[in-house]
Structures are given as C-alpha cells and as structure tokens.
Amino acid sequence: MGERLLIFGAGDYLFGLKLDTVLRVDTIEAPDEIKYGDRYCGTVKISNSTIPFVDLRKKLNSHLAGKPVLIRYEHPYCTLGILSDNLSGIQEIEKESLIPFPEIVVKSSRDILQGFFLKGRQVILFVNGGKLISMDDMKIIEKMTVV
C-alpha cells in the first residue's frame, strides 16, 4: 500500500506532506490580517478564523513573487498552516521508494526531514508535519493568538 503525499514548493525545494493530515489548501488572495512573530511563525485571519502558520517561503528565502498557498493540516498541537510558494499535486509513492535520510540529517533537521524520493531527477523531501513547528514556536503563536 502506498502513501499519498501532497507535493508543494517553497524556495528551491519540493516537499511532500502526508495527504491524510491535510485539511484544506487555499491560495491566499488578501488575508484580513497577517501577523508575524519570531522564527517565521505567525497567524493569519481568514474570515472569522485565526490560523497559526509557519512561513516556509520566508524561512527558505524564497524569491518567488505571487500569492502564497496556505496548506492547513493537522499538527499534534493544533490545526496549523504552512505558507508555501505553490502546489505541485498529489503523488502516491510506495513505501519502498522512500529513501530514508542518514541519522545525522534527521537529527540536524530536528526530525523534520525523514527521507526523500525521486521523481525523475527531482528530489521530493518527505517532511514530518508534526515537527515543522516546535514547542517554542507554539508558545510564540499562542501569545500572538491571545493578544
């Protein structure tokens, strides 16, 4: 049985996130309100909802212009958004085709990077959505949400 991944781009990279954790994907036209804390985290107000996010575009020095794509997914702490450059589609991969990273890479990325797979010559990085934001980041977001 394969794994279905949502593929998206941010900066120079392509990422894959488990599709079954994804709740919604929107291109943000004109957010009502967007606030930034430290460490590329923030909150965006869309309609009546305040959504915490991590901005991978800023984190990875993306120079792409255009409207960001907000991917909402189930993070262990809350519903979290990822601001990315673009969507690249959905890919079903066999578990055997996922190449795990050496332990030093997993450690250095603080468990965000788990492995990758190749689509032609393109490398798609499989990310652990649960680790994209740390407890420290979460505290910053909570403060911003309360104020």
């Binding site: 900066g11 120079d12 990279y13 984190k59 990875l60 190449i99 795990p100 990273f101 050496p102 030093i104 890479v105 450690k107 250095s108 990325s109 603080r110 965000i112 990077l113 990758f116 490398v123 990085l125």
Partner: protein
C-alpha cells in the same frame, strides 16, 4: 606491511589529511542534494549506491569542487574540498615537533590538519555548540 598514507586536500587554503584506510573515493564536481532545516555545515547528501551520504563543509565559502568520501567510525561521510593534492606517504609529510593532536604534519611548509569529524558531527547534530 603497507605504509601509512594520507589523502591531502584543501578547504579555503587550509590543508587536511585523512588516512587512506578510510578513503572510499574522491568525486570531481559532486552532485550534492542541498537540504533545508539543517545546520549550515551539513551541505546536503550525495547519492551513492548504498544510499544518501551526508556531505559536510569545514569552511564557509568552500567551492565544493571535490568531495572526499570516507568510511569513518560514524559511517560514510563526504567532505567538500576546493582542491585535492593527492595521496601522500607519511615520510613526505614532515612531522613538526610542535604539531598538536589536530595536526598530521607539514607539506611544502604548510600545516596539514586532521579533520575533526566527531566535532563536526556533534555540531551538526546539535549536541555541541560551534566554536
């Protein structure tokens, strides 16, 4: 009994030497898959037959024209180098009396350092602060 030899390479004008017992390969113009979210000294991974090998740089701004692949006690590792001087036998590496534990000797008047692989790994893994 084989003589002790070292692969000698430069990173930003600093010479390093690694025992050829550990040497797997020297790759010209290596294809390194760059990675986000990792320590800056971990430049990415190189894909070899056995899987991805982590590649490190010992200095900012090194060209990475070569990658020296070694089989260390911590597994396969790649080290980016600007230039590779070749394989030099121990006799040709002048051992200076004041050479510390981080130095192997001298080559043409230049000190040849022993790369601190454990230090780099600890730094990259976040278990040691960068000096």
């Amino acid at each position: 009994m084989s003589e002790e030899k070292y692969i000698v390479f430069s990173v930003k004008n600093k010479l390093f030497g690694i025992d050829t017992m550990m040497l797997i390969n020297v790759v010209n113009t290596p294809e390194v898959v760059r990675l986000p979210f990792v320590h800056s000294e971990l430049k990415g991974v190189m894909l070899v037959d056995t899987g991805p090998v982590p590649v490190f740089s010992f200095a900012d701004g090194a060209s990475g024209k070569f990658a020296v692949l070694v089989d260390s006690q911590w597994g396969l590792l790649g080290i980016l180098a600007d230039d590779v001087f070749g394989i030099i036998d121990k006799e040709s590496l002048k051992i200076s009396e004041d050479a510390g534990s981080d130095s192997i000797g001298e080559l043409s008047g230049r000190r040849v350092f022993r790369p601190d692989l454990k230090g780099v790994l600890d730094t990259v893994a976040g278990t040691r602060e960068k000096n």
